[in-house]
C-alpha cells in the first residue's frame, strides 16, 4: 500500500523501518562521522532519510525529506528531482 508522507509520519520507528526495509529503494548514503551515516531511500514515491549507526547496522531515525533545496545540496544533484513529491 502506498502511503503519503503525512500518513507515513503517523507510524513509529519500528514500523517505518519495516516499511523502508520491505518497500524502500535504496539510493545513496552520506557518512556523517565514524559511526553514523544517512541513507536515502525512495519509498512510495517520496524520499526518506534513514539515520543509521552503521557499525551496529541499526536504523535510529527515519523521516521523509521535506526540503527540496537541502536534498539537492546534500546529495549534490545525484537524485532524480521528478521523484521528489
Amino acid at each position: 500500500m502506498r502511503l503519503t508522507k503525512e500518513e507515513f509520519s503517523i507510524f513509529n520507528l519500528t514500523s517505518k523501518i519495516k516499511m523502508v526495509e520491505n518497500d524502500g529503494i535504496y539510493l545513496i548514503k552520506k557518512v556523517i562521522d565514524d559511526k553514523h551515516e544517512i541513507r536515502l531511500f525512495l519509498l512510495y514515491g517520496f524520499y526518506v532519510e534513514v539515520y543509521c549507526n552503521y557499525k551496529l547496522n541499526k536504523m535510529l531515525e527515519v523521516k521523509p525529506v521535506v526540503s527540496k533545496k537541502w536534498l539537492n545540496t546534500f546529495y549534490m544533484g545525484l537524485i532524480n528531482q521528478s521523484n521528489f513529491c
Binding site: 500500500m1 502511503l3 500518513e7 503517523i10 507510524f11 513509529n12 519500528t14 514500523s15 519495516k18 516499511m19 520491505n22
Partner: protein
Amino acid sequence: MKKTTPTIDTIFEVLNYGAKNGVMHLNTTNDRLLGNRLQLNDSNTEVINFGSCSYLGLEFDERIKKGAKDAIDNYGTQFSSSRAYMSPRYYEELEALFCKIFNAYAIVTPTSTLGHIGTIPVIIHDKDAVILDHQVHNSVHTAVNLVKAKGVYTELIRHNRLDILEERIQALRQKHSKIWYMADGVYSMYGDVTPIREVYQLMEKYPELNYYVDDAHGMSCFGTNGGGYALSQKPIHERMVLITSLAKAFATGGGVAVFPTKEMAHRVRTCGSSLVTSGPMQPSGLGAAIACSKIHLSNELYSLQEELYENIKYTNLAIKKRGLPLVAESNTPIFFVGVSLPKIGYSIISRMMNDGFYVNAGIFPGVPIKNTGIRFTVTRLHTFKEIDNMLDALAFHHAEVLKEENFPISKVYQAFKMKEPVERQAEQIVTTIEKQANLFTEHSTSISGIDKFEWDNLLGNRGTYNWEGLKFLEESFKGNTESENNWEFDYLIVRDKEDKPILATFLTTAIWKDDMLAQEGVSVQVEAKRRAANDPYYLTSKLVSVGSLLTEGDHLYIDKTSPYWKEAFGILLEKMAVLQEKYKASGTLLRDLKQGDSEVDSYMMDNGYFKLGMPVSHVIDSFNWNTREEFVSTLSTRSRRHIRRDVMDYVDMYDVQIAKNLSAKELEHLYSLYLNVKSKSLLLNTFTLPYKLFKNMASHPNWEVMVLNLKPEFDKRAEQKPVAVVFCYVTEEKYNPMIVGLDYSFQDEFKCYKQALYRVIERARGLNKKAINLGFAATVEKQKYGARLVNVVAYMQAQDNFSLEVVSSMNVAEIVNV
C-alpha cells in the same frame, strides 16, 4: 401458529445457513498452532486468521505457557471445590496482581459471563433502575434478566446516546436512588467505544448515576498495565463497576470483576452466585494468568500495545484507501465492513477463505440482520503485508459479490445509515437498469391507475382488497386528523416480456405499533408505558407493508410457474426499499404468507428479512348444510354440544338485520361497540380505527353492517340498542367479517359474540358464498363453528432492531409473572 419472538428461529436459520455454506461452525485441523495460520475443516490449505480476539498474540508466550504447565504440575488439571469453601493458592496471588493492574479491588471469575452473573444480582437492588446501551454485550443482558425477573426496572437506550441517557436519568431519578448505565468499553461487533469521559461528566452531575462497564475487548490492549479501554480514559470511579475478560488479549481464559471499594468486592465474593456455586478457574488458567499479569505489570506491555496500535493505524488507512464501507472508525483492533445481507456476507467469507484469509461474519443476533458485515480483527502478530493482502482480497470480493448479487453499494451505505461517497451513486443506477431488463414494473399510487378487471382477476377474490375494496380504503384512510389513520398506497404489477403478470400486490405505508405482533402480555406493558408517558406514539414505527392494517389474507399474487418469479420478488423488495426511503419509514414487512414455503423462507432470509409468526387465521369454506340443525350436525360431537348450548338456545332471543340508512346516532353507538372490543383486544395491537371509516362502511354497497338486537322481552333498557355489530365486506365468492363490536354487559347472559359469529356464517350461507374469512383471534371459539386454521407468517426487515429488542426484552418479565 403461536406468535413468537423472532430470535431463536432466526438465529438458527442464519447460523445454520452459514454452517451449511462452510463458513460457520468450523474446526481447526492443525496438529499444532503456530502464530496466526489455521487449517480449517478438511482443507490442507492454510488461512491467515483475521478472527482472533487474542489481540496481543500472547497465547504463544513461553512464560505464560510455562505458568500454566507449572500450575498443572503442582495442582493437577483441576482443583474441584467451590470458592465458597476454598480456593487454590494461585487465586490470592492473582487477585493481588489484578488489584495492582486496575488500581482497584479485583475478583477473579471463571469467565466474564459468570462475572456478570455473580456481580449484577449482588450490586443491583430492587429499587434501582438499569439502563442498558442497545449494543451492550449479550452476557450483560443475560445477567440483567436475573434482576429484571425480581422486578428491577430496566430499559434500553439507543447506542452511545448519552443525551438520551441524561434525559432518562432526569426522568428516573425521582423514583430511583441508583440508576445503572451498562455499556461496553469496546463494542465487540463494530469495534467502537463508549465515550467514557462524557459518562464520567454525567456521574459528576447526577449522584444517582452508576456506571457498569464490560471491557472484555479493551483489556490488555489499552491503558496503564493493560487495565482496558475504560480505565485508559479515567481511573475507576467510586460509583463504577468493571467486568473484563481474560479470554481475549490477556490470552489465558477467565474473567475479572473490578470494584472501587473493598466492601463491594467482598460482598460480591461472598454472595455472587457464580462465586458460590460454580466451579473455579482451573490451575492451568490461574498459573498462566499470574505469568501474564507479571508481563502486564512490566514495561514490556507498552511495547506490545504499541505494536498492536501500529497495526490498527495501518489497517484504518488501508481500509480507507480501498474505499471499503467501514461501519465505525476507531482505534480498536475490531473492524466491521458493511455488506448488508447475510448471503453476501457468507459468499465473501467463503471466497476469502479460498484466498487464504479467515474473517468473521458479523451477523444476527450480534447485529440487525440487514446490517450483516465482514468483521475482522488485527492482532500484534499480523504483518503489514498480511493486512494489505487480506484487504486487497476483501476489496476485490466485496465488489465482485455485490455485482453478482445485483446489490448496489449504495444500499450497503443506506443499511448502515452511512453517507455514500458520491462517485458510487452512478453504479447504483446502472445496476438497477440491468436488473430490470427482462421485466417491466407497473407502479401506481392509487388503485384508479390499475385496470379493474385485471386486478380483480389476480387478487379480487382473496379478501377485502378487490378493486372496489381498495378504493374504499384509500378514501377512508386519508385526510384524517390522526397521523396513524393516514396511509400511503402503492400498487405494483411486475410483468414479463409478454406482458403477463408475474407478481401483483398492494402496499400501504402507515404507523404501526411495534408490539402489534408481540404477545398480548407485552402489549399490556407497552400500553401502560404509552399511557404513563402520555405518548401514544411510544414504540411505534412507520412501516411499508404488503397489504394493510385492515385487510387479511394472501395479498401477494405470484406466478411461481414463471422462471422469473424470483426476479419479480426481488423487484418487489427493491421497490419496498425505495418506498421506505421515500416515506421515511423504518422498516418493511411482508405478511400473511403461507407458512412452510422453504423456497420463500430461504429467499427472504437471503435478502435480510427475518421471519415472524403471526396469529392463526381462520376460514370456513364448507357449507354442506341448509338448516340450523344440519349445520350443527356437521360439527364435532363436542362442538355440537357447545353450539347448541351457547348459540342455538339463544337464537330466538335476537333480531338480526343488515342495517341500511343508519342515522348518525345509530352509527355512533355501533362505533362505541367497536371501541369496547378494541379496548379489550391486544392480540393484534393496532391503533383505533377512525369514525370516518365506519361512516364510509355504512354507505358502501360492498359492506354489510350486521346488527344484533335483543328482542324487547330480553332487553329491559329504556332505550333499546344493538348489543353486537359485525362489519362485513362482501365479494363475489367470499364473506369477510372484518370488525366486531360488542356490548359486554350482555355478553355473559346472552352470549352476543357467539351469536354474532353464528349469524355471520348463516348470512354467508344465505348469500351462497364459497368461504368466510373469519380473521385472527378467538381460535378455540372459531374452531367450534368448524373453522379451519390457516398458519401464516410475516417477514420483516427493520432499519435497526432497537424497537424490536425493546419489545422483545419485555417478554422476560411476562414469562416470570406467568
